[in-house]
Amino acid sequence: MAVTTPPLAATAAADVSPTAFWRLKGFPLIPVMILLFIAFVAVFADVLAPHDPQVGSLARRFRPPFWQEGGSMTYLLGTDHVGRDVLSRLIFGARVSMIVGITAVLVAGGIGTLLGIVSGYLGGWADQVVMRITDTWLALPALTFAIFLAAIVGPSELNIIVILGLVYWTRYARVIRGEVLSLKQREFVRLAIVAGCSKRVIMWRHILPNVINSAVVLATLMLGVVIVTEASLSFLGVGVPPPKPAWGLMMADGKKGLMVGYWWLTVLPGLCIMLMVLSANLLGDWLRVKLDPQLRQL
């Protein structure tokens, strides 16, 4: 990328070094702000939500958002079919999405990174076993597989996290294994072998730190996938059980109202999901290019 001469105004404020500038070039400011905002809302949901998200009153069901006729400032984004405040539910829904999304990605990343390193570094039958399982896993459609698992263990927030972790670890295993295969040919790994380090020490000290970059990139990209899957499961009724406010669940509850004009019940949570997934993906794309150019073809 050609470095263009900065305009005079920019040179005047030259305490930003060129490397720092380059590092932040193309930084996805808006997506990161959206994610931070959602995270903030999720953390402080109790303080921010104007009403109890789980208690409604049938007397005030299907109130529209404030700017529409019949809306009020008390229920800014309207109420749902049992009179619960939509805004409060969206706020608490952010918490569900964040918790499920992040922990599921951590579970998937933990299992996948571990197995990817072991399979890539040890090779032989360990590699064969892990990779054949991975092939089988990837051949199953993720959502169907998740529904199947959810049907077995029953829906709960914890189960959803475990299920998503189990469904998505294979993507990590594949990518990390590939990285490890090239890493283990590097001289510093060979030097460690020659210096008498055990396999465990080498995997932990020399391989793991060198694949963390890729794992982080994958995690941000997987965050979007996992959130969409969680929303889909909740929408289908095998995800987060009601009355807990999850965005997917809100869409499912509101879908009958869509045809008769209660658009806010589906459009608003849908918008939240879209914004969050889009932001996670944009951040992931940027990180991918910044941290590891070799992953571009992923």
């Binding site: 510093f188 060979r190 020659v194 210096a195 008498g196 380090c197 055990s198």
Partner: protein, 339 residues
């Protein structure tokens, strides 16, 4: 000479065997070598002559397709081939250390110098983080790194190639090994840095009473560094003995050809002297001497029968029919015609 050697390899063979066992590559074949404590052994040979495989064999780090098929490796009175994997791990880096070819890639980019120099101490001697760090500073000083106190907390990318190779040297000597194997340690360095590094290795060797195996294809380095030399060709040691005697009167035609192919400042030859032909396919060696097809002095017998390892003079052996003492008249005749 009278005491037991530090390392002695006896009829050691390591072969790569293809999965069906159809192809056998004799990467190291019937090698007998010995090295005194504190001595320096140079191993020279063309690419693919089995030098590096020999080094990996000593450390028992051959790739899975290769196995040691016969022989003994006595190191400080113990046969390394009898050791379990866990015992071997305690030998590597602690009693036998190794320096690899590429110093630029030998250090983990994510850890500080002190961390990496101290790693063998922590692995082998269970040193605490702090004491390993302290000793790393001392080790850096001993490999002549300026201001080791600041360098120790820096990272590999902040060092030049020569410095990194010295750091790799420091890792090598960290646990006070008895034997250091250096596999072409200076190939990727500038000539001036090479000379510095070789001097450093020699000083370290003297200070620590270290035995050194120097794998190289540079005969100049052998002349500078080593007192014993083994010339490898097609997985076998074709000639070995004291460097000075091999250089002044090579017994094997291959050694002679190697020495003859070194260009000299005083030469006014138009072309560089080369050895005609290619090294043989190690999976399909000729029945006789492996060098016979390229040898200017080959006899009919050389093509039919592999020569044994025989003594040329005190402490020197060669695998060549021309060096066999009870050489028949034909050999004498051939030798006189060549001369």
């Amino acid at each position: 000479m009278s005491s037991q050697p530090l390392l002695s390899l006896e009829n050691l063979s390591a072969h790569y065997v293809s999965q069906q066992g159809a192809r056998v590559v004799r990467a190291v074949d019937d090698v007998t070598l010995s090295l005194e404590a504190g001595g320096t052994l140079g191993i020279v040979g063309e690419s693919g002559s089995g030098k590096s495989t020999l080094a990996l064999t000593i450390l028992r780090l051959l790739p899975p397709a290769a196995r040691i098929v016969s022989g003994r490796m006595m190191f400080e009175g113990e046969n390394l081939l009898d050791k379990s994997d866990a015992e071997m791990r305690r030998v590597r880096g602690k009693r036998i250390a190794m320096i690899l070819q590429d110093p630029m890639a030998s250090l983990n980019p994510l850890f500080s110098i002190g961390n990496q120099v101290g790693e063998p101490l922590r692995v082998h001697e269970g040193a605490s983080r702090a004491s390993a760090w302290q000793r790393a500073v001392g080790l850096l000083k001993s490999v002549r790194i300026a201001s080791p106190e600041t360098r120790v907390s820096q990272f590999p990318h902040e060092m030049s190639g020569g410095m990194r190779q010295r750091i790799v040297g420091a890792i090598g000597i960290s646990c006070e090994p008895r034997l250091l194997i250096a596999d072409e340690p200076t190939t990727s360095l500038d000539l001036t840095i090479q000379a510095q590094y070789l001097n450093l290795l020699r000083d370290l060797q003297r200070e620590h009473g270290l035995a050194l195996i120097f794998i190289t294809h540079n005969l100049g380095i052998v002349a500078k560094m080593c007192d014993q030399l083994a010339v490898m060709y097609a997985g076998r040691v074709v000639e070995q003995g004291p460097v000075s005697r091999i250089f002044s009167a090579p017994a094997h035609p291959y050694t002679r050809a190697l020495l003859g192919s070194i260009p000299r400042m005083t030469d006014n030859r138009e072309h560089l002297t080369a050895i005609d032909g290619q090294p043989p396919d190690l999976a399909a060696l000729p029945p006789g001497c492996a060098f016979a097809p390229r040898c200017p002095m080959a006899l009919a017998r050389c093509r039919a029968e592999a020569p044994p390892e025989c003594a040329v003079d005190e402490g020197r052996t060669a695998r060549c029919w021309l060096a066999v003492p009870d050489a028949d008249a034909k050999v004498e005749l051939k030798r006189s015609t060549v001369a």
